[in-house]
């Protein structure tokens, strides 16, 4: 996003308090003092439905981004969300069909499928262009950060409330900063692990 000579890198490491790397955590860096920023027009993202799963499980987008919901299954899905950030319903679109929804408000939008109760995914709408999702190792890297001060937040769908403020970091030009965040999760038995397949479903 900025020039290479000016850009810095933020490394984040997210784990549970007992040291397990935490994947699927969204790390955002918001320039200190900056108002929420809307994405450039035409920004797009994709939330695929395949094998009765949303892919990816967590999709962070900047405000104003239009997300496409392509159906790769041979049967229908009916994607909805009753979240205050974005309430919508994409009805009865079949295989190879696709619908689009533009998310214009910051917040968490849990996605469900009216047909398949177990399908769940989150679209995390943020007001900054700087964000990244941790990989399985619980690490991610936000590159091309202009030098400056950033408020760093971490969000995870299963997190216990009152967490996620990682603090403010100074990013030097061509410099690198690393934040390490520990995040406590809700006990999660009722909900399916991301990526697990319900064999009895079909």
């Amino acid at each position: 996003m900025g020039t290479a000579s000016q850009a810095g890198t933020l490394n984040a490491k997210v784990s549970t308090p007992d040291g397990k790397p935490l994947a699927m955590a969204v790390v955002t860096a918001i320039p200190v003092g900056a108002a929420p920023a809307v994405a450039k027009p035409g920004s797009k993202a994709v939330m695929v439905q395949a094998s009765k799963q949303f892919m990816p499980f967590v999709l962070p987008v900047q405000m104003g981004t239009t997300v496409e919901f392509p159906n790769r299954d041979p049967f229908r899905h009916q994607v909805y969300s009753f979240s205050p950030a974005k309430t919508f319903e994409l009805k009865l679109y079949g295989s190879a069909e696709s619908g689009t929804v533009t998310f214009d408000k910051e917040g968490v939008v849990p996605l469900g499928c009216n047909i398949h109760d177990n399908m769940l995914a989150y679209i995390y709408v943020v007001g900054t262009p700087y964000f990244a999702v941790t990989a399985d190792a619980g690490e991610n890297k936000i590159a091309d950060l202009p030098a400056g001060r950033y408020t760093v937040n971490v969000w995870h769908p299963n997190q216990k409330a009152g967490q996620g403020q990682a603090g403010v970091v100074q990013i030097a030009a061509s410099g690198e900063a690393t934040v390490t965040v520990q995040m406590e999760l809700k006990r999660n038995r009722g909900q399916r692990k991301p990526g697990a397949v319900d064999e009895n479903e079909y």
Binding site: Y80, F82, T87, G112, D117
Partner: protein, 808 residues
């Protein structure tokens, strides 16, 4: 006795009966106890199982409810309504769900644990105000596990509650579905149980009281149960027996159903009626009771049988003892048993036989003489009585003969008892040989035998009499002795001499007396000679009357001094002139008077009369002594000397003027006493004379020892003195001997001059007899005394006689 048998029987029956009842009761109780314990255990198992079933059933219900709830929770419209907080729609949807899945109550609880919709409120009423949901921990459970189930009390009703989340797709609220556990519910539960169980859902309110909104019990029983639970329910660890109404229930207060924290806990109370449980055992109990009853009857029957088997033989023994008492030994006791009673019965039989044998022996001894073995007098009387009875119609003649052995006591005294016994045995044996008919010969007394001759043939009787008498013709040889035995026989004949055994034997006895009187050895009874004849007895009354009325007088027979031929003495002879019968011979009443004791009166009269006459004659100058006869009985009268002395004093008569004449047999009857009395009389100066001398057994030597002055030779020696040379010798020697002993000798029965001369020649002192004169009245004698040739007034010879008389 009989009563005590019954007591024994009753005791035995009582014992067996009670024993059986006790054993039966114990058995019954043990069986019942075992069955009850078994049932209790079964009930416990059943109740636990039932409780499990109910819990499963509740779980199933919860699953169903959860299914329904999940369905609703996944309904897009509902989720949309919840997400958009459209409460009217939510309530409407909840009502719809309640009716669809037959839930009693459905609520929606927000994530903030507020009840935002509740089907308790009607759709039309619109959304009610939010209320906090009481059971917060249900939410935690549902959040963690996706579902929460609880049974608890809500608004005083018991609900099974299921809570599931409403997801869109994240949880946006909670649906709570409740099924009320009411009477209908427990009724339904009861129907699915395999055993009859009373089901109650009960809970304890905050105030400690128990409530049971759901129960299969009737209202009264429910109250009883709740009361019991209040008292002990909280402490009921396991199944307990609880009495409710009229029956017992095994009661299980199950562990409380799953309930939220701090919520009212609901218990299932399961009750199993023992009555119902015991129902299958009823036939068994009935059988037991029937068996016990039958066995009781049998055991009582057995007791009766055993008692009878004891008492019946004892009764038989009792009867036998009574028979023994009554003297019947013939009937034996049947010995049917081989036990102690059988042995006792045998012993009884042996005892009866022994008693019978002994009694026979005693009876034999009672009826027989032990010495001779012959029947005794009693037996003989019975035999004769039998013979008389046998002749009641025919009156056929038979004879009873008594045999008396003369001088038997002398024989025994001389020869000893052994010899006497042998003599009796020998005579008895011989008599049996002569009269062999059974019971015909008996020993009648110590010296008597009795014969019963069953014949009316006088010749045959005489033959027997002769054969018997012939036994004693010669000396009987016994124990080396040759004994001269005299036997007297007396015979009496039925029916002529008596119609009773006693009479016949008395008369046979009298016949012996008569035989002796007649100097014979045998006599047939002669009523004329019988001193016991009734008219003789009545004569004694007349005798006493005659004495009083002066019917008695003396006749006097003179006794003449043979040397001077003058009267010196008279013998006073009693004459009884009976007013009707006239003159009574002395031998008709003197022996009778002696036998009946009247002789004393007669003697008293005679002595008084003689003394008075002596006084009278003395006054008239008639100088004769008066001789009075004394009887043997008089010599046993110790008062006799005094009586005579009184008379002599009273009439002032010299004792020398009275002579007392005694027969020698009279002295012999009681020699010592007689001698004493004689000595006294002699001492008084009275002259004593032995009368009828020569026909007795006494010797002169014996008479010499007596204080007598005179003997009178019996007239039997004098009557034919002139013609009998033998008599002359006897009289001569008697006179000589008497004189030698210093005794005067008088001869009686002088009937002719020749005899008088002989006696004079022989030196007899005095004489008496018809030749001189018969007995005379007083007047005749007085004439005789003065005018006869024997009068002392004739010549000097008479003076000598007087001198002689007074000097004697």
């Amino acid at each position: 006795m009989f009563r005590s048998f019954r007591h024994f029987q009753a005791r035995l029956i009582l014992f067996f009966g009670m024993l059986f009842v006790v054993v039966s009761a114990v058995t019954f109780l043990l069986v019942q106890n075992a069955i009850q314990r078994n049932i209790f255990e079964q009930a416990r198992v059943q109740l636990s199982a039932t409780n499990e079933i109910f819990n499963r059933r509740l779980a199933e219900t919860a699953d169903q409810l959860a299914g329904g709830a999940a369905l609703l929770a996944s309904d897009f419209g509902f989720r949309q309504a919840v997400a958009s907080d459209d409460r009217a729609t939510i309530l409407s949807t909840l009502h719809n769900l309640a009716s669809r899945i037959s839930a009693d109550r459905v609520m929606l609880v927000s994530l903030e644990a507020e009840v935002v919709a509740d089907t308790t409120y009607a759709e039309s009423a619109g959304p009610a105000a939010e209320r906090p949901f009481q059971f917060a921990d249900m939410i935690d459970t549902a959040e963690e596990t996706g579902r929460a189930t609880a049974t608890t009390v809500l608004d005083d009703r018991i609900y099974e509650l299921v809570m599931v989340p409403v997801k869109a797709p994240l949880t946006i609220g909670w649906i709570v579905i409740g099924v009320e556990s009411g009477n209908a519910f427990v009724g339904e539960l009861q129907r699915v149980t395999t055993v009859p169980v009373e089901i109650t859902f009960a809970f304890q309110g905050p105030d400690g009281t128990w409530n049971a909104p759901a129960t299969t019990l009737s209202a009264p029983l429910k109250d009883v149960l709740l009361g019991s639970l209040r008292n002990s329910g909280a402490y009921m660890a396991g199944p307990a027996l609880m009495t409710m109404g009229s029956s017992d229930y095994v009661t299980l207060l199950a562990a409380p159903l799953t309930a939220p924290l701090n919520a009212t806990k609901v218990h299932i109370v399961l009750q199993y009626s023992l009555d119902v449980a015991l129902q299958p055992y009823r036939p068994l109990f009935l059988l037991l009771i029937t068996l016990a009853g039958a066995a009781l009857v049998f055991s009582l029957g057995g007791a009766v049988f055993i008692a009878r088997s004891v008492t019946a033989p004892i009764r038989r023994l009792d009867d036998a003892a009574r028979r023994i008492q009554a003297g019947r030994y013939g009937e034996k006791i049947p010995v049917t048993q081989h036990d102690e009673l059988g042995t006792l019965s045998e012993t009884f039989n042996q005892m009866m036989a022994g008693i019978a044998e002994r009694e026979d022996r005693i009876a034999f001894q009672a009826r027989h003489d032990s010495l001779s073995g012959l029947p005794n007098r009693i037996s003989f009387e019975g035999h004769v009585a039998d013979m008389i009875i046998a002749r009641q119609n025919t009156q056929k003649v038979f004879s009873v003969i008594l045999l008396q052995i003369g001088r038997f006591s002398e024989l025994i005294n001389t020869l000893g008892h052994d010899t006497g016994d042998q003599l009796v045995r020998k005579i008895g044996k011989t008599l049996r040989q002569i009269v062999p008919q059974p019971n015909a010969v008996a020993r009648h007394g110590s010296n008597m035998f009795a014969l019963a001759l069953d014949t009316d043939d006088a010749v045959a009787v005489n033959l027997v009499v002769e054969r018997v008498l012939a036994l004693f013709d010669k000396a009987v040889s016994v124990a080396g002795f040759s004994i001269d035995v005299t036997a007297y026989l007396g015979e009496a004949r039925f029916p002529e001499h008596g119609t009773t055994a006693r009479t016949l034997m008395q008369h046979a006895d009298t016949a012996i007396y008569e035989a002796k009187q007649l100097n014979r050895f045998y006599a047939l009874y002669d009523p004329q000679l019988d001193p016991h004849r009734p008219e003789r007895l009545s004569m004694m009354g007349e005798l006493r009357e005659g004495l009083d009325k002066g019917q008695f007088t003396f006749f006097y027979q003179p006794k003449v001094d043979l040397s001077t031929e003058t009267v010196t003495t008279v013998e006073a002879l009693i004459r009884w002139i009976h007013p009707e019968r006239g003159f009574m011979p002395t031998d008709q009443f003197i022996p009778l008077a002696e036998q009946t004791g009247n002789i004393r009166r007669l003697t008293a009269w005679a002595l008084a009369a003689a003394v008075k006459q002596s006084r009278a004659w003395a006054d008239k100058g008639i100088n004769v002594k008066i001789a009075v006869n004394l009887s043997a009985h008089d010599l046993s009268n110790r008062h006799l000397p005094a009586e005579i002395a009184n008379l002599l004093t009273a009439y002032d008569v010299s004792p020398g003027r009275i002579i007392l004449e005694i027969t020698e047999s009279a002295v012999m009857q009681n020699p010592s006493q007689a001698q004493e009395i004689l000595r006294t009389l002699n001492g008084m100066g009275l002259t004593l004379s032995i009368d009828d001398y020569g026909i007795g057994y006494s010797s002169l030597a014996y008479i010499k020892s007596l204080p007598v002055q005179e003997i009178k030779i019996d007239k039997s020696f004098v009557l034919k003195l002139a013609d009998s040379r033998g008599d002359q010798i006897l009289v001569k020697s008697t006179i000589e001997l008497g004189h030698n002993l210093g005794l005067r000798v008088t001869a009686e029965g002088i009937e002719d001059r020749a005899s008088l001369d002989i006696l004079q020649n022989l030196g007899a002192d005095t004489g008496q007899g018809y030749f001189i004169n018969r007995p005379m009245s007083v007047a005749d004698f007085e004439t005789f005394f003065t005018t006869s040739r024997w009068s002392p007034h004739f010549g000097g010879r008479g003076i000598t006689g007087v001198v002689a008389a007074t000097g004697g």
